[in-house]
Amino acid sequence: MNRTLFALKKELFKLAHRKKYIVFILIGAAVSMVRWGGSALIARITDGQIAVKTNMTLEMLPFAVEVLVPIIMFIAAADLFTHEFSADTLKMCMMQPVSRFKLLTAKAAAVVITGAASLMVMYIVNIVIQLLSGGSLAQAPVTLLAYIIDILPLIGIAFLGILINVCLKGSASAMLLCLAVYAAMKYLGLYVAGSESFLFTASAKLHIMILGQALPMRILMYKMGILFGSILILYSLSYIIFDKKNV
């Protein structure tokens, strides 16, 4: 456990020194600002006839969970796997006294933590914008709970990115494939009706199932089963390939 934590600390250290994650958070903040600005503009144009007073932090959650954070996690996965492979630094990781299983776990944990931290930063950014725009913070605790619940499906998306990255050697191709596969899974239902519910990506807005709707426990368990089963499969496949990797 100590060795895994030591390795995790190193992986987080590497990611913390990359400025691009801050850029993506700023993009997320800009989107939130545009949304708030748009609402304020509509209110002004219609002289207050159409005033959009909603829980903006909660409304920005799908954007964060389905678009922004998956992209950040795919980049983190590329940074820790394919980029390290092409930059020849993966051998330094593999020469550490940490088994490949522990190394994969540390790298995967670093990707998930990066995604979760980005989501939490987005929560704070949106809360601040909501506060500055005169919105109410009455729903802030429940909204925070929604953000925390939505970290769970992000674990599945992180492992999807990790699996693709352990299979490929180039970070650009891995990133493109991650986005293509994620988009295909996310919008599979557009082509094959109902099919997306068999995939873990259907649980992306998990907070709606848990907080918003009174779903029967059986259906909720079914959804959670697909999610955690998918994570287990993606983790196992990633390990099998990573363990055989020659560097």
Binding site: R3, F6, K10, F13, K14, H17, R18, A87, D88, T89, L90, K91, M92, M94, M95, Q96, P97, V98, S99, K244, N246, V247
Partner: protein, 237 residues
């Protein structure tokens, strides 16, 4: 003691190493001599579990490498091919990432002095010259005075002064801590000056293994020994 038995690793192009068996005693400096592409790096990578062998075994102090990987790697430092360096991090940060244990981190400043990089401690490694990168890679391998050190072409890119300094440091570490070294080179004179045992690898096979002292008592130079062994091998094909 490192014991390698029947080690074979062939890549898709059928190059690699075939049925290599050798033993490196504790405190020995084994020099691996061979032309480019002969399999020296493949052998070293297998000794570090960076590649998965097709067959054969590697044991360190009687313990199988794969089953005792963490324990063995705790006492093993290595530099393989070009140094693994994070260009956007400083020399100190790079060594922090290369540390095998928390104890190694306290050794960083000492080892930076050994490789004469102490004044570049907080400079980004991406701006380093080839020689400086090589020194940083060597620092990562030698940090914490590991019991076993595996160095692939360690003096690559170093100036004459650097070559002599590193050679002297390897010798002093070997004498002081009884460190076992496995060092590869395609420069015969370098192996002659450093090693206690010399192995010649050619076309993925171990052609000969003998004590350097014995070799030097029979041949005028390591170069002559190497050329004879290679010609013998070629003649046998």
């Amino acid at each position: 003691m490192i014991r390698i038995s029947g080690l074979t690793k062939l890549y898709k192009n059928k190059r690699g190493i075939r049925n290599i068996s050798l033993t490196v005693k504790t405190g020995d400096i084994l020099g691996l001599l061979g032309p480019n592409g002969s399999g020296k790096t493949t052998l070293m990578k297998a000794m570090l579990s960076l590649i998965r062998e097709d067959s054969g075994t590697i044991e360190v102090d009687g313990k199988a490498l794969h089953e005792n990987f963490e324990e063995i790697m705790t006492k093993t430092g290595a530099l393989i091919e070009s140094p693994a360096i994070y260009k956007d991090l400083t020399a100190y940060q790079n060594l922090k990432l290369a540390a095998r244990s928390r104890g190694d981190i306290s050794d960083i400043d000492r080892i930076l002095k050994v490789v004469h990089l102490e004044q570049y401690r907080n400079d980004k490694a991406g701006r380093f010259s080839l020689g400086m990168k090589q020194r940083l890679g060597l620092a990562a391998a030698l940090m914490g005075s590991p019991e076993i050190v595996i160095l692939d072409e360690p003096v690559n890119g170093l100036d004459i002064e650097g070559v002599v300094e590193i050679r002297e440091y390897i010798k002093s570490m070997n004498e002081k801590y009884n460190t076992t070294f496995v060092i590869s080179s395609h420069i015969a004179s370098e192996i002659e000056k450093l090693s206690t045992q010399t192995a010649v690898i050619y076309d993925g096979e171990l052609v000969s293994l003998d004590s350097t002292q014995h070799i030097m008592s029979l041949y005028p130079s390591m170069e002559d020994y190497f050329l004879e062994k290679v010609h013998e091998r070629r003649g046998g094909i």
